[in-house]
Structure formats: C-alpha cells, structure tokens
Symmetry: C2
Subunit: 585 residues, 2 copies
C-alpha cells in the first residue's frame, strides 16, 4: 500500500507514474469506504484524485499555495498532506472537517465552504506574495459549476490583469451540484470538443493565458501540463476535463445524486439510512408548489444551483419549462430575477439556504426591496439545528435580512400556517416576503389557518396569562410552549404565550398592552441574538418598567457542533429559560 | 426647438434623422446648462444621448421595457419620456431624481443606483413576460464599467441560456468611473479594433448573439442596429462604441473628473463651488496612507472602481504600482483579495462607501471573518449626513456588518483617534477591522491618542456623572456631548458621557458598573436602530432596573431628504434627546 506511506507532499514526489496510479486507486478505495460509512461529498472528490496527485507531485505546498473552491473536493488533498488517517482509519474519520481548514493544516489556506471564491482569494495571495517579495506559485482549483458565480467571474476578470504568477485550474466535470446552467457552458463544451483550440474562449476573453488537458484523470498528462505552467510569470488557466464520480459506477451514472451522499451499501449504491416516510416541511413544500405551478402558469420556482431543495425530479423540472428556473450558482441574479419577474406580472419563489442568502444582501436591498416588488423567498435550514459546518450555518439570516426596509420576514410554526403564508405571499402584490421555513418536526393543527398575513406585524396570543410573557419565534415556538408550562408550574401563574410570526416588525399595540399586567417579557429566537428579533423587543421596553430577557445564540462562528450542547450553553433549554425568567419576577 | 415638443417617445418617432440629430444637440445643450447649475452625472449622459434617441425611435416604451444599469445615464431617457421640463426649466431641475424611478414614470422599471444589476433584472422581466404570455422587447443598457461586477457577469451567463427576446446594449465608452480594470477590457478593445469581428468574444463565449456598432454616437447607425434586433427571439448583445462626455471638450478630455460634477463655469469647466481648503477626514486619510505606503511596501490600498476615495492623483496611483489595487467594480473580489493579501503577509486597506459594502456581506463573513484575517476596511459616508439618494444611503452598515462574528467595527470620533485606530488596524495581525470613518466636521484634540485598541470593546468614559449615562457612538458623539450639557442644565446633575468606539461588542464591565448610580442609559447612533448598536445595550440592560432609550433612525428607505429634517423626525436633536432622557428619571 502506497497510501500508508504518504505523510506529506514530499512522499508523493518519490513515486513513479505507475506507483502514482496505484496510489490513485488506493485513494479511491479509501474514499469509497469512508463515504459508505460516513457520507460526505462524493462525486467532486472522485473526479479530482489524479489532479490532486499531480498537483502535489509538481508543486511544493505550502510554499506553493493551493486554494480549493468550495473545498468539498479537498479530500484527496487532505490525504496527501498528512491527514490520511482520517480517510483510512475509521476511528479517525471525524478528525477532519469536510472542507479546507487552516486550523487543521498549513497546507490549507482558507476555510472555504461557499462557492466561487477561489480565484479572488488566489489573486489576493499572489498580490500579498508580490508586495512582500515572497516566493512560490499560487494555484486556485475551481470546478466548472462554481464559475457561474459572480465572485468567480469577477475574479477571472481581475486575474486577467494581474502581472505575476497565478495558476487557475478549471476542473471541468460538466456538472454543478446538478447540471450546469448558463451560456458559458456552451463555450466549455466547444473547448472540450476542439481540444481547447477554439478561438472563442471565455478565459482568453478575460485576458488569461490558457492550457487544455484532454484527460484530466490521466496523471501523466496532468503532470506534463502542470510542469509547463509551474513558475509561470503571468496568470494562466489550465482547463482540465475530468469525470465527476470517476471510479464508482453509480456516481458516474447519476452525478447529481452522488454529488453528496449519506452512508450507503457499496454493492448496490443504496443508502443505508432509513428515512421515515413522513410529511415534513420539505415534502409539503414540494406538494404545494407542484400543484400551484400546475394550476397557475405564472408561478416561477427559482433556484441558484440547488434544485433539490424543491424535491422535484429532473423530469418534473424539465416539464415545468420556463416555470422552473435554475440560474446555476448565481444567487445574486436569482434575487434580481425574482424581483423583475414579480415586476412583470409573474409570481416568483426563490428557494435558498439560509447560509447562501448571505450572497444576496445588496440584491435584496437594492434590486428587490427599494421597489418593494412582491417576490417570495423561502429561507431553508435557518436554525441552530440546520447544517453545523462553520461555512454553512443557518443562524445569521435574521440580522442580515430582517433589518432591510420593506421586506416582510415571517416565521410560521405549523404546517397550516406555513402553507397559508406561502400561498398568501405568492398571491399578494405589495411586499417582498421571506419565509423562514420551520426547522423542527412538522406540527399540524388539523385546522385551517385563518390569520390574515396582510395585517403586518400582528402577533398572535396563544395563551393569555400574567406576570411573564413568552414571545417565541418560529422554530423555537415549541421550546417556548414548554418553557411556558414550566413557568406555570414554578409560579402558579400561567404566563402569556405569544407567537410573533413577523420577524421584521414589532406589534406595538400588543406589546404596549402587556405592560399592564406583565413584569417580564421573554423572547426566544433560533439564531444569533445580535441584530436579531429579541433586541427589538428589548428596545421597545427599554424605557419602561417591563424587564426583558432575550434568549438566542451568542454571536460566534460555531463549527461541527452538537446542537443540544449549544442550546444548553446558551441557556436555551425550556428548564433554563423558565429558571431565568422566573428569577426576574 | 425640437426638445420642447417631446412629450413622450411617440414624439421622437415623428422626427427625421436630421431632426433627431438636431434634437441630440439640443439635449446636450440642456444637459450642459443643467449640469453647470445643478451638478450631477455628466460623462455617462453625454455619451449616451444618440443611443437613447435611437432606442426610443425604434422601440415602444413602456410596452418595450428598458433597464438602465446604475441609471446615472438615464437623463436623456427622462428627457424623452415626459420629463423634459426637469432638464430645460431651471425651476424644475429638482423634479426628478438622478436615477431611474418607477414612481416618476411608467417608462422606468426599477429604482437603480448600484451597478451591474441591469442584465439580471432584464432576464427577470423577460421571464415574467414569457410566463404571463406578455409581449414586447426587454432591453438592458449596461456601461462597460459595470460589466466587471459579479452580478452583471452572472447575468450575462444566465442570459446566454435564455430562449426568448432579450437585448443587451453594452455601452462601451472605455471607462468606468475612472479607467476600467480587468482582463475583459482587452477583449472589448480587440472587438473595437476588429469592428466586432474578432473570434474571441466575451459575449459569444457566454452563449450570446452579438452585433457591433462602430460609431455609437451616430443615430442612423444605431437605428439600423436596433431595428435589426427588434423582436429578436433570443438574447443578443449590441456592443456600441461611444465617447464618454461627448460634446463638451473638458469632459471628453478628462473623463474621470467629469464622470460626475459639481456646478461649474461652462466656459472654463472650473467648478463654481468653493471648497474650504481645510483638513477633513478625507484629506488626513490621504496624507496618512501616502506616507504609510511609502514607508511600508507591504501596505496595499484597494478600491473597487472608486479610486477617488483615496485622494491620490492618477500619477500617484500609478507610482504606487502593486501597492495600489483597483479591481474595477468588483467589491466581492476586493474583500476576498484583502483577506488573502493579509493571509499572505501584506497589509491591505479596502476603502469603500457604506452603501457599496452591502455588496460584500458573504465575502466579509466567509472569505474574511471565519479565518479572522487582519484586513482593514474603511467605511465611508456611513451617516445620515452622507449621500441622500435612496440607492446610496449610508445608514444600514451597522446592522449589516456589526453582527458578523470576529469582525471588529470601530467608530472613532476625532482626528487623533481615527489615525491611531487606522494605524493600529494596519499593523495588528489578529482581526479583520472595519473603521467607520467619521462623517462630521473634523475634531482635533491636539493630543496624541493613547487608547489601546487591542483591548476590544473597552468603552471610554469622557465624563463621570450620575443618574443618566449617554453612550454616543461615532459621528453622533458631538450630539451626545451637546445633549449631555442640556441634561445637566435641566437636572442639575451632570450625566455620564461615554464614547463606546466599538460597534461590535459591549463593554459589560462598564455597563455593569453604571447600574450602581444610573437610572437611565441613552444610546445614540448614526444609522437605523434595527439590528444596530443601541439595541445591544437595550438587551444588556433588559433584565435590570436600568431604563434604556435608543436614539437613531427608523428603518426605512429615505430618498432625497434633508438630514436636519430627518434628525428632527427621529428625535435626534440634542434638545429632543435631553428632553426624552430626562422624562425617564
């Protein structure tokens, strides 16, 4: 076994081409076994094994610096840079993150999880090197799916004016997470079809030098190409044609499903995780939108490269024609288009992860909210119980979104409320509306929702009580209910329990009325407290005698955490909340 | 005079080519006179007169829909769409905004002031049209300077996959606000040099059809080109070669200075506004950075297309070589590069308007703050006293920036503090630091600043007092001082006066100590209250007996306002603050 002897890039350099090929095969075996047990990004890593070996064979990390875009394809790099145990020894699988990490290794430059950043970051490393008289190559590795993102395209353009060493590996596996979208992919195809010889060339049109590698899974070819650009004195793109998921038949065949995987059976490729076949907020979204889009041809479902959020099959997506719009990785354009579709009579829904809506602050503000166009945005996995990687947290969207004027941001808490607000939002024509899709077990009241969502900032009192009022937002409403019960047990007085729904505004009338017979107002929110919902309540009561205690998360970048632990640390269990609230009366 | 008879696009269509040329000349005269009296965007409008006439001659607005990028070049469009009085009658000059405005006219689709949005917005209008079986052409007009922005490049790529009518006019005047930056401009030059015939073509590489117009200031040529693409069934780029500032010699010669102008003398081109030749926060920034960059070659001044913020001459910029980095309009890349320059040993400073830093939320969060790289960001005109157009407000940066973990956001209040914090920030290696450059008359203490900024979140007590504490942030510190005096007059007790400096954190020790002998804490901030600084103080004191009253701005999109009026409406005069604070004790 070669893989066991690799303790760093220097050990890669000792091997012959045949040995490197054997190493590639061993690395794939390790990746396959680990993925089958542990899950993780699959296709991106399987496609890039040979290129990673060739990079470490030719370049000298960390003197030469790599930046992996998204870095979900950095597993082979981790294997070759002293972290092989995390891939060959099951008990060490969790020693590494799923992304590049400067904390883990000096061979990783940045913690990267969002797409399309590598070229700009590499430009910066190059400039930093040049103004400090530093040495070494700077190499960005970007997948073709990431190229459509604004920051990446900006980066290519800026790179085209740089005047010193900068190498951009464009890993063209003809896929984003799902299929690629956008006109530039026709050009990549043209380049592949002409062995890189076509005159019309996106990269050259951005001012960049260009090298094409026909078989991006051939180590010898790659080494030759990388050697040809090593120590180059200007920016160059090395366009390598690779096979996503290479080496595992199911992944080569169904590239979208195998972009990322849960644990699975290697023989069959079938997942070994049992999903209960129950309704959840995803499935009811899919069902609702499927029907809505069929009955109203002006409804447009928009995604920025994550079509799976809708739960439609690829065939359904196709059948929806112009009603299903995947702009590729281009969140900014998704928001702008949503605004303009609404302006021109359509009914757009943009479905996006909390972590990725961060890429659209200016579009929300300028393209959408200033003109108050009636687009609907579904914000997904916005919760401490969402994704737990530092690059994919769902706990910052409230401060980011909710302080933009004109936007109506609503957090429903039951199936009936959620579907009602979604339908209301699509049909109304007055405001941009974002909906914080609940991240919690589905709660169904069985009763139709009668709330008039057009009456903005009208909170609902679920239980009238005294002394303490609990205002529990969105996904934390259940915790609020439990805390309310405990408060009643402790004090003998039932507290008032309020479902605020609206994140973007304060129900001043209701809050004013609470002053009469309440001493303490408790707020709960599923996100960081800073800039969030609770602080607005604290501001409201600031000049009064009512005490306010805000429960939510500390402002920090959490990483690979246990949500239960984090809730406890932030005093967010029902018991802790009740205890702290009661202490104030 | 033809201009006087133009009450809408229908009147343009009646004219002969000769008459259209005469109209163009009259429009330029009107624009020149208005600019000399009123100021405003100059070069962009002078270059686009003929194209705008030709557009309205060929297309049928508002059935055909125009989207102007940035829309600072929409003056000729306004003249031709029923708003001519605002350009020919001095008493009506202020009837219109400087940007497109759906409130003003049905011929304006969106309120646009940030760059690079038009193509994505046009894609959305086209999709909205198609799903509602609508009719008409959709036309985006984008200047070459805007093309380098991420949202624009995303938009071109998405447009390249659209399958119905969409026309993108690329107005190539070989300029951004200053000179263009990035590799793609070499391609535009190649296209100009080959009459659009070069095979390597950025737009074609994005999957778009392409038409070139050699003289973009020739009405006849333009009409021919626009007629050739009218009602086209797929997306096409019409690349027109125009002269920025055309028709006014000084503007043709010094395009950067004449991008936007203050009132001036038409004969000489010299401004008629007298600027006092005094130190201000701009001039001391320029002086400081000029010296710093000369003495430390690792300091890199970064701008995203607004180099004038630095106050260096074009020659100085050039002389700084790799130390002066203008990425063009590409704010996302600017932040990413700042992070990476810092990572690789350089000392980056990114100088950016408050309104434009909105374009970088995700880069601040992901590319910069997760890894806590020590870049410095200067946030300019962040104030109610900054720019007053709805698209350029400086009152939202605190909620947007300050709730991102790891970032240190500091608001100094004097010359000495500002220069000290700037120098500290550049030299320290622990945090990303943003500095809210004061928007107020320069205050100099004459004494060196001794504050240790590394002691994060340490507020400074300027005056020890009792009962009331006034915490006055940044540019509003002066108002806080005045309010404190009035409070003393009213109550006979001097309040405590605190300069918090840190926007991103709370000095819990100091705030805790205030509980002893203070009943009321007043906060002041120069921005919207929602998600801002004061709410954090309100949260801190929420569970206590201390009352808190937050002063700042209501969350709303203000437009072309009088700052004094807005301050008064928000109870932000020293008298109002003192009155409200005293009422609480």
């Amino acid at each position: 076994m070669y893989i066991e002897k690799i303790n760093g890039p220097q050990d890669v350099k000792k091997l012959s081409i045949d040995e490197l090929n054997a190493l590639a095969s061993e690395m794939r075996d390790a990746l396959l076994h680990r993925a089958s047990v542990h899950g993780g990004h699959f296709g991106p890593n399987f496609g890039i094994v040979e290129a990673t070996i060739a990079l470490h064979y030719v370049f000298d990390s960390p003197q030469d610096k790599f930046v992996f875009d998204v870095s979900h394809q950095s597993y082979p790099h981790k294997i070759l840079t002293g972290r092989k145990e995390a891939y060959i020894a099951q008990e060490h699988y969790d020693d590494v993150t799923g992304y590049a990490s400067p904390i883990e290794s000096k061979h990783d430059m940045f913690t990267v999880g969002h797409t399309s950043t590598s070229v700009s970051l590499a430009c910066g490393l190059a400039r930093g090197r040049d103004v400090t008289n530093g040495k070494g190559n700077v190499i960005a590795l970007i997948g073709d799916g990431s190229i459509s993102g604004g920051e990446a395209l900006e980066g290519f353009n800026v790179a085209g004016e740089m005047d010193s060493n900068l190498i951009i590996i464009a890993n063209d596996n003809q896929m984003s997470i799902a299929e690629n979208h956008g006109g530039l992919y026709k050009n990549l195809k043209l380049l592949r079809d002409t062995d890189g010889k076509a005159e019309c060339n996106l990269f050259k049109s951005m001012g960049l030098d260009y090298v094409y590698v026909k078989d991006g899974n051939n180590i010898e070819e790659l080494i030759k190409a990388f050697k040809s650009v090593k120590d180059i004195d200007h920016p160059v793109v090395v366009h390598i044609n690779t096979l996503k998921g290479k080496g595992y038949k199911p992944a080569e065949t169904d590239k979208e499903s195998w972009h990322w995987c849960m644990p699975f059976d290697i023989e069959t490729g079938k997942t070994t995780v049992n999903f209960p076949d129950e309704e959840d907020y995803s499935s009811i979204t899919t069902d609702y939108l499927r029907n809505k889009m069929k009955s109203d041809k002006s409804v447009v479902a928009i995604t920025a490269g994550t079509p799976a959020l809708y739960g439609f099959t690829p065939d359904e997506r196709k059948a929806f024609g112009r009603q299903f719009l995947d702009v590729g990785i281009a969140e900014q354009t998704a928001v702008a288009m949503a605004s303009a579709i609404a302006k021109n009579g359509g009914k757009p829904v943009f479905n996006v992860y909390s972590s990725f809506i961060q890429r659209t602050y200016d579009q929300l503000s300028q393209d959408l909210c200033i003109d108050s166009n009636p687009a609907t945005i579904l914000v997904q996995t916005a919760s401490v119980n969402g994704m737990t990687d530092v690059t994919h947290l769902g706990i910052f969207d409230i401060p980011m979104i909710s302080n933009i004027p004109n936007l109506v941001y609503i957090a429903p808490t039951t199936k009936e409320d959620y579907l009602a607000v979604l339908d209301w939002s699509i049909e109304q024509t007055d405001y941009p509306v974002a909906i914080r899709v609940p991240v919690a077990e589905l709660v169904s009241t069985g009763k139709p929702c009668t709330k008039d969502f057009a009456e903005l900032n009208k909170y609902e009192v679920a239980q009238h009580g005294g002394k303490i009022a609990v205002i529990a937002l969105g996904s934390f409403y259940g915790i609020g209910e439990q805390a309310a019960k405990l408060i009643e047990e402790k004090t003998g007085t039932a507290p008032t329990l309020i479902n605020p729904y609206y994140i973007t505004g304060v129900d001043t009338e209701l809050l004013e009325s609470l002053k009469k017979d309440h001493d303490v107002v408790v707020t709960l929110e599923d996100g960081v407290l800073d800039g969030g919902f609770g602080e607005k309540i604290a501001r409201f009561y600031g000049p009064s005698d009512v005490k306010v205690i805000n429960f939510g998360l500390k402002k920090e970048f959490l990483d690979r955490y246990n949500p239960a632990d984090v809730l406890k640390e932030n005093r967010l269990t029902p018991e802790q909340i009740a205890e702290d609230a009661v202490a104030l009366i």
